[in-house]
Assembly symmetry: C2
DNA sequence: TCCTATTTGATATAATTTTATCGATTGGAG
DNA sequence: CTCCAATCGATAAAATTATATCAAATAGGA
């Protein structure tokens, strides 16, 4: 409960703890238990929890589950809902728009855009607009998060438009490595990375002794 | 060109280099250039390439692009095609079955299974079978890679069935943390992790000075 | 009530990963 | 032909991340 700075590696593990706790029926939960279930080092989990937990845990009992959930949500910012736009409403775009689970993570897809759309339409309850209206809408609503689900050839152009409109974080589902200014964060949803790790395992050339569960894809 | 063991972090970067090179028109490509474009440290890229490159690069020119692509593919095992099965043919399952891009990564989805399927059917050119036939087919075809696209409640059961049938690597798209024996690798496709990183960035509490591009979900 | 086993938080050590530095090689310009 | 700049590969240093160890706290049982 001392070090309040969070390493990227820790940040990657936190959502897993949160998910785990949300599915727990217990009143208390110890770092020891979590470590065992995730096959992580016990001290590692304890340090991770120390960063987010406001009240700390009690010896012999561990952490209060509800409290810890709430601390995790606070820390990860899932309580201040982040509005997001999505560009590209093909198969994947539609799936994401209809996916309810984002609410749990503080993400709210407020509207979509697509080059092929010429007049406003609805997908579920989400409005989809022509690309031309993006900049104005994003600026007026002060939206900072953009999701890219267009194809490779359009990704950089869409990305530039987003940045021009004031977007500061981009979740990129296109198989394209976007170039962005320093202050914009790109998070790639990288199936290729996952595949590389699986493929290497299957070809049994890497030693996974120390990586019994790879939590991230990525990472 | 000395150290041949590959760290997990390096392994995560390799698919990006491969993708980048495949899209290059140049004959030669230097570690310096790649590092600049990905905003990575030059030495890091050079060390990564040293692990995979068989012939090494030439001073002043860099690496032969075609040769490096081929070395990367060899290293990642994309040349020995890995057959895979997929369990769960809902929206996501169907999308993955129809996705052509896996071929580039050495993955070949040979058949699918679903609890709701009672008699064999086709999706595109891929046969879908009832769950009951999985063990027998997987064993006969000696398939080692399984893709899980079922919902949370069924994931562990499907996972157990896969392991029982001899699957050694699992690509898990369900939002469930699977428990597996030591010798089985689980790769989670972890949108939650990506979301955590984005959300934290938007709430501006983490210092990304040293992480201009997070390559993986992730990296 | 006292003892014991478990868990916490803190400190210290180890391992891994990244970054800096340097001499050697080579293609191209002058 | 000689020099220069770019790049390589290697070694060393720094930074980050993971793991081990230990005293203090406490719940629960003897």
């Amino acid at each position: 409960m001392e070090n309040r700075t969070c390493s990227l590696q820790t940040l990657r593990r936190l959502p897993y703890y949160l998910y785990y706790l949300r599915n727990s029926n217990e009143e208390y939960c110890s770092a020891t238990t979590i470590a065992r279930d995730f096959r992580l080092n016990e001290v590692q989990v304890r340090k991770d929890l120390a960063i987010v937990s406001k009240t700390g845990g009690s010896p012999r009992k561990g952490f209060n589950v509800q409290e810890l959930i709430s601390d995790l949500e606070d820390f990860l910012g899932y309580n201040n809902m982040n509005d997001a736009i999505i560009v590209g409403v093909g198969h994947l775009g539609k799936a994401l728009i209809n996916y309810k689970g984002f609410q749990d993570y503080g993400i709210n897809i407020v509207m979509g855009f697509d080059r092929a759309i010429k007049t406003e339409m609805l997908i579920g309850s989400t409005a989809i607009f022509p690309m031309e209206r993006m900049k104005n809408l994003v600026q007026r609503l002060k939206i900072k998060l953009g999701i890219i689900t267009v194809n490779q050839g359009s990704a950089q152009r869409v990305c530039n438009q987003m940045i021009d409109a004031g977007i500061k974080a981009i979740w990129n589902f296109s198989p394209y490595m976007l170039r962005v200014p320093e202050d914009v964060l790109v998070q790639n949803e990288n199936m290729a990375m996952s595949l590389a790790i699986l493929s290497k395992h299957l070809n049994e050339e890497i030693d996974h002794e120390h990586q019994p569960i790879i939590m991230n894809a990525e990472d």
